[in-house]
Amino acid sequence: MAREIATEFDPGFYLASNGDVQAARLDPLLHYVIEGWKELRDPNANFSTSAYLAANPDVGALRVNPFWHYIVSGRSEGRSWSGKDPRADLIRQLSTIADLEMAALATDQMSATLDAGRLRSILSEVGSADILYIAVSQDSYKIAIGGIQLCLQLEEKAVMDDGGAYLHLFPINKRSWLSRASNENLLLGVNLNGAFVGTSFADDLLSVLGETVKSKSILVIHSMLGQSPTFMVQLNNICTETPIYWNHDHSSICVSYNLRRNMVASCGGPPLSSVQCKMCVFGEERGSHLAHMKSIFSALNPIVVSPSAFAKRYWEDRTDYRHAKSIVLEHCRIGPAEPKPVRSGAARVAFVGTPASSKGWDVFTALASKHANDARYEFRGFGRHRPAGTSIQWHDVSVLETGPTAMSDALAEANIDIAFLWSLCPETFSFTAFETISAGASIITNGQSGNIANLVENTGLGTVYSTDRELFEAFDTGTVLQLVARRRQEPERFPLIPSGMTAEIVKGLGR
């Protein structure tokens, strides 16, 4: 019995989730086979002993190890092990935007650190700059981490290098939908030239900016989430230049900004009248969300900047908003190849980024667990958010703290062969894909991952699988190792060259 169980037992997971077994220095496999299953402990991250017994009462009656039963007969009988199903739990816990808004109101912060006077003295210095950028996004790029935040860092640097002033406004009371607050209640965090200076209400900001901004100025929208449509239009009225709308995510197509129906399925941004929208928790909100977006675009007539040709085409296919033009500017580019050292041994497969189910973390843990004792592979994780309860070796990497090449350096240093970029929504750009390419690793992804799949198809630096099943087969049969062998023959790295974001566009327009 132990032999069958051993093939899929994850000793690292077992020790990580059972401190008492680890403390007593017991053999994890033996402990599970003899005692652990009776105490409803789990043999790996995927199999729930208790859920299997609950779903299959006849197995309980047999009084045999449920995991053994699952391996030798339950699986082929198509028995469900259910229970540990984060996707089903997520669906069960979905809340409407209306309910989320109600809940959020209760914890909103309602006092500003800057009054109009303080704001006036702080903003007086922006008058002397050649050009003032007023950038808005959903949170502070100085604190939060992610693709958009990285873009703002790049943009801030490029603007300041060019002698411009960079004012960034972000909602203090966070929403992943449009703010419903009026200007006197809309509290914004203010970053000026890379430093946080305080918080202010939108009406004070408007009146002070109206007085102080006399020079060239441009509104740059990186995200509308948590921002107010009215405020956005008023802010633009203060500025002199054609505003920029960055098509970083799909929030102009749906309030579900990564186009996830009920947060679990890729929906492709269908027509509002579709059955997908009817069945989706975001469907109800989407109607008014789109109406607001339409009014913002009508008022702003912005230049829409997409970070990839894929994102541009995707946006143009799904919207009919008024805009001055639609262009592509990648957040970074890949430089010429440089050699890197040759390496052999097990293929190293890395999850890169935030361990969330929409990024394929569940699929990765299932894959890693299945091959926990398979000498052909080693599974690692890289990112700023270390997941709980996993035996996968995790490397803490923060681009925010260490610099823009931190991730590609870490992947290269750990000799990663394959990055698992299993995004379940259409990415408009994907820094992690560029970081992977820069590190000289290959990408494995699925067909729904937007620009990731697009990059793999254009560069040939990886494989696009159409289903989870195909992915698992590639690891079972070892065909995925062909990818590794090919790259190991000619090991190379590529430098990452960051873009200047909006500063680059403004310079281009000036020429």
């Binding site: 859920a51 609950a54 779903a55 299959n56 006849d58 009988e77 198509g78 028995r79 469900s80 259910s82 229970g83 199903d85 996707r87 089903a88 669906i91 069960r92 979905l94 409407t96 129906r261 009920n262 679990v264 399925a265 269908p270 027509p271 579709s274 059955v275 997908q276 009817k278 069945m279 989706c280 928790v281």
Partner: protein, 351 residues
């Protein structure tokens, strides 16, 4: 007078939210149908029922039915038994009123596309039925949960029934009505299961019965083993081909969740459809109705009527003769008699 299609459901107030969701979903696809609500309940204090505020065109209360000794009849049944028993008299009444095609749907159903094929089938057939399962099970657990359960509860799910107003349809209706007035009980040991098990006999006893073997109808936990749902822009589909006509949201709550977890497994669309249903129920809930409300579930003094008391009353004719108004809590009423002669009301027997 010749009338078109009437569709009805049957509830106590506890299921008003579900009935509203059902009716709204029918309205979306069949705005021309007449929607009738069978109601076996009375309003709790402070709650006002107004047809103007409901998505139904008419309501028929138990009191309106042509059932002799109504109080005694109500007392003999628990809430599930009575809400299914009234389906017989209701169907007979609607046919007598001249409705050409009558469709019954359980309140915990919602439509996801139109039922035109059923309406059209009634041009040819007198009766349309949907079986619980359309394909044999091959797993032990599913054989127990689905096939053996159907042997116990009936082959056809009576959450759906469509009847044409012809000699044959009225024949079925009259026969069923008569049986339900006397034998609409959950007594599986006697071979009875409310209104449903009776229909096992229908294809043998009557002509012109269509057994609708389209997996788009009556999708529920008991047939998910063979039905895979997908949500597309233009509809929900079963096994890629068949439009989902209606889903039967049986057992809203933890038991239903467990059945979904077991049989939907990684068909997450089923979980999504359930989540949609829960949102609809929240939206159409009737706040004035207490959770466990059923006017006929209690004696006027608030004492809950245990099933045992109903069984005893049902079996013993002398009790029915002595207490023709069994809900009364008069000093010479059934409640007092039960208190004095049985331990059914949680009391000690006083003798």
């Amino acid at each position: 007078m010749i009338r078109g299609v009437l569709c009805f459901t049957s509830i106590s107030y506890h299921y008003l939210d579900r009935a509203r969701v059902l009716a709204n979903s029918i309205r979306e696809y069949h705005p021309d149908w007449h929607l009738a609500l069978g109601l076996t309940d009375r309003e709790p204090a402070g709650f006002r029922f107004s047809l103007d505020d409901e998505p139904f065109d008419s309501v028929v209360r138990a009191e309106d039915l042509d059932v002799p000794d109504l109080e005694a009849w109500l007392f003999k049944h628990d809430v599930v038994e009575i809400c299914t028993a009234v389906k017989g008299p209701l169907l007979a009444r609607f046919l007598a009123e001249g409705w050409q095609k009558v469709i019954y749907l359980d309140p915990d159903i919602a439509l996801f596309s139109d039922l035109r094929p059923v309406v059209e089938a009634l041009d040819t057939y007198s009766i349309v039925l949907t079986p619980h399962q359309l394909a044999p099970e091959d797993q032990e657990q599913a054989i127990i949960d689905n096939e053996i359960s159907s042997l116990k509860h009936g082959t056809y799910n009576l959450g759906f029934l469509a009847v044409r107003n012809d000699v044959n349809g009225r024949g079925v209706s009259d026969w069923w009505d008569a049986r339900l007035r006397k034998y609409c009980y959950d007594q599986k040991e006697r071979g009875l299961f409310v209104d449903q098990k009776w229909f096992d006999l229908v294809p043998a006893l009557f002509d012109n019965v269509l057994i609708l073997r389209d997996p788009g109808y009556n999708v529920a936990s008991w047939n998910l083993t063979h039905r895979h749902l997908s949500i597309e822009d233009d509809g929900i589909f079963v096994n890629d081909l068949y439009p989902l006509r209606f889903f039967h949201f049986t057992k809203l709550g933890p038991i239903g969740d467990q059945a979904t977890a077991r049989y939907a497994a990684d068909n997450y669309e089923v979980h999504e459809i359930w989540a949609w249903y829960r949102r609809q129920i929240d939206r159409w809930s009737a706040p004035g109705i207490p959770d466990d409300w059923w006017a006929y579930g209690h004696f006027p003094n608030g004492t809950k009527i245990p099933r045992g008391a109903r069984l005893m009353y049902r079996e013993r004719h002398e009790l029915q003769r002595m207490f023709p108004s069994p809900f009364s809590d008069a000093s010479n009423g059934l409640a007092k008699w039960l208190e004095a002669n049985t331990a059914l009301l949680g009391n000690r027997i006083r003798r």
